[in-house]
Amino acid sequence: MAPAVSPQLDVDRLIDDRRTRIIVCCGSGGVGKTTAAAALGLRAAERGRNVVVLTVDPARRLAQSMGLSSLDNTPRLVPTAGEASPRHGTAGSPPDAAQEGGSLHAMMLDMKRTFDEIVEAHADPDRAAQILANPFYQSLSSGFSGTQEYMAMEKLGQLRRSDEWDLIVVDTPPSRSALDFLDAPQRLGRFLDGRLLRLLTAPAKLGGRAYLRVLNAGFGVVTSVLTKILGAQVLRDAQTFVTALDTMFGGFRERADYTYQLLRAPGTAFLVIAAPEPDALREASYFVERLAVEGMPLAGLILNRVHRSPAARLSAARSLAAAESLQPADPPNGDQHGSEPPARAVRAGTEPHSLAIAALRLHAERMQLAAAERRLAESFTAAHPLIPVAEVPAQAEDVHDLAGLRVIGESFPPGS
């Protein structure tokens, strides 16, 4: 059977389509997700869209290169015009027909501040102050494992409602597993809205009567176990917090549901980012399947950091054989029957050798790597034949300026 061929993902068509209002980049950590999101945002802006990139944890120098030394939970304008790196020559220069009215903003999520702002916006000052000072709130707003994901979605909702940008690119949090991003907001909502927390807070609200009922239902044991493990103070803080919060807005679950619906709305497109490595592609597969189950609109897969060769016609085997033929013969006093192949000395770099031998060996290595990557990509395609894929070549150096981002943007393959 011939290997399956994926449809080509046309990134430019996606970002040029004015109906696309939200692009969510997701994928496991270490695949270049933040860089890809920034490159998408820059390219869309330079093709005339008003873009904001919401990022969660950018590399410091990447942030600086976008003119964003102060990333403070507010979208900042990225100065994109007339800045080209001489190193990249013509590639990576801003387009001549500058901008056509596009613009790029970027912001970094401050999850605690976002949470604080929700509280401040919805409660009167006294109550807000009370909530903000609550120890349970403090640990929830900075420590809970779903808070970052939740706040990223909350911020996305805010940006969308403000209608100041016609395209929002979201770089999702570096979760342990990419799936956390879908689950965490609901998990937090469910938790804050949950039965146990309600029961614990019941006494405070109903003056004790419900508490008796709880006791009868056997929850006394539960409370006592929790008190033993957590201490009475933690439970009291949690109770105070939920009671204060409850009057503020109609339940966390509704808020989580709202953002969840936003993700499913027309105009949202998901891009799964992966590197051609087993773990990253396994995560990508899970994510693709999960998005389908949830009815989320998946635009395609960006396969990042793919190794290619400008001399792909020269196979690894022929390249190695050619290198071998250029290799000077072993010195006559060497042990000709030894098990060490003569190539070993060259590989270890201990012997002077011609540049051609090095070039041929490096080429063979690159071809082997490319073949391994292709096999991985093919197994993804075999399982998901309908998912469009765009391959982005590996960059030789870390990307930390706009020119570097442009080079990535330019390397998105054109549609078929």
Binding site: P174, L230, Q233, A280, R318, A356
Partner: protein, 337 residues
């Protein structure tokens, strides 16, 4: 060849962290193998519920139970060792803890059904961490008679971004009960983690962000626990052997490879279309040289903190057991185990 000096004599709990994508789990598994050689018993613990160890050792998903997953290679004079693995789970650990302190084993199932365990670990994220680190500390200290059950414990810990919070046990549960078993449990765990018996190793690749996270992580350790935690080695993963001489590297990085000369040699090697091929290979050389130059910069930065550094080979054909043993051998050869 029996008594070898390694860089981590006296360390019994090895915490392995690293940025996502650097191969943290693979290196943790290889370290466990390396530590096990010479007839030792080593426990490898994972704490993130990913079943990464099962994937690395190509075995069925691990239960919450210590089970043997691999043997370390022996030699003519040395017996092989054993690696056990455990997928630690906060829920199970909490039930175990309740059973230990309150004799509440039977209530356990009911508590699980009601979601109490989930609730408790959600309401106090620090509790979750202390249960997981507690499991590693317990295994490290466990004795049978006068002897330790495990010669060493390796923990595949959370990524660098979260490692400080994860290991700062006492501070994490400071909001919890000020007295009582949770607190004294946390204090015991912190004592193990802060002791010279514990070292925190960092896995990185030679790229800017993972290196930055490694440097930040090492700096962070000094301020954790009671008087800082011991930084361990820096495991530099996926290292390519050097192919170019320093001169060749400079020439290639500046993009001034002599294509005519290259074409002549390619022709001598019997390759067709040598001019076009030379141009393509020159471009590959330049790209390679720039990558290597960037990696050298990162390598210099890693030398900053003065921690021992270990080079681990790039396994190009996918990590299988053979690859794992190769990385373990590299760790041993360089004195990490």
């Amino acid at each position: 060849m029996s008594a070898r000096d390694t860089d981590w004599e006296g360390v019994r709990l090895h915490v392995v962290t690293g940025k996502g994508g650097t191969g943290k789990t693979t290196v943790a598994a290889a370290l466990a193998l390396a530590l096990a050689s010479g007839g030792k018993r080593v426990l490898l613990i994972e704490v993130e519920g990913r079943q990464g160890i099962a994937q690395v050792f190509d075995c069925p998903p691990l239960p919450y139970q210590e089970r043997k997953v691999a043997v370390a290679p022996g030699t003519a004079t040395q017996p092989g060792g054993e690696v056990f693995a455990l997928a630690a789970d906060p829920e199970q650990a909490l039930l175990e803890y309740l059973a230990m302190f309150y004799n509440l084993r039977h209530a356990g199932t009911a508590l699980t059904k009601l979601g109490v365990v989930d609730f408790a670990t959600t309401i106090a994220p620090g509790l979750r961490d202390v249960l997981l680190t507690g499991k590693a500390a317990e295994a490290t200290r466990r004795r049978k008679g006068s002897k330790h059950v495990y010669d060493a414990v390796v923990m595949d810990a959370p990524p660098t971004g979260r490692i400080g919070r994860f290991l700062n046990v006492t501070a994490e549960v400071s909001g919890l009960a000020r007295v009582g078993p949770t607190r004294s449990h946390a204090d015991t765990v912190q004592k193990v983690i802060s002791s010279p018996e514990t070292a925190v190793h960092f896995v990185t690749v030679l790229e800017e962000m993972p290196v930055q996270e490694t440097l930040d992580g090492i700096a962070e350790l000094a301020g954790l626990g009671d008087g800082g935690l011991q930084a361990g080695g820096i495991m530099i993963n996926m290292v390519h052997p050097l192919v170019l001489s320093p001169d060749q590297l400079r020439t290639a990085a500046s993009g001034s490879v002599d294509e005519d000369e290259l074409a002549m040699e390619l022709k001598a090697a019997g390759l067709d279309d040598s001019r076009r091929l030379a141009a393509a290979l020159a471009a590959e050389l330049t790209e390679h040289a720039r990558t290597v130059t960037g990696q050298r910069t990162q390598r210099r930065r890693l030398a900053g903190p003065g921690q021992p550094r270990y080079d681990l080979p790039m396994i190009t054909d996918g990590i299988d057991l053979a690859g794992l043993y190769r990385i373990a051998a590299a760790l041993r050869d360089q004195g990490a185990a």
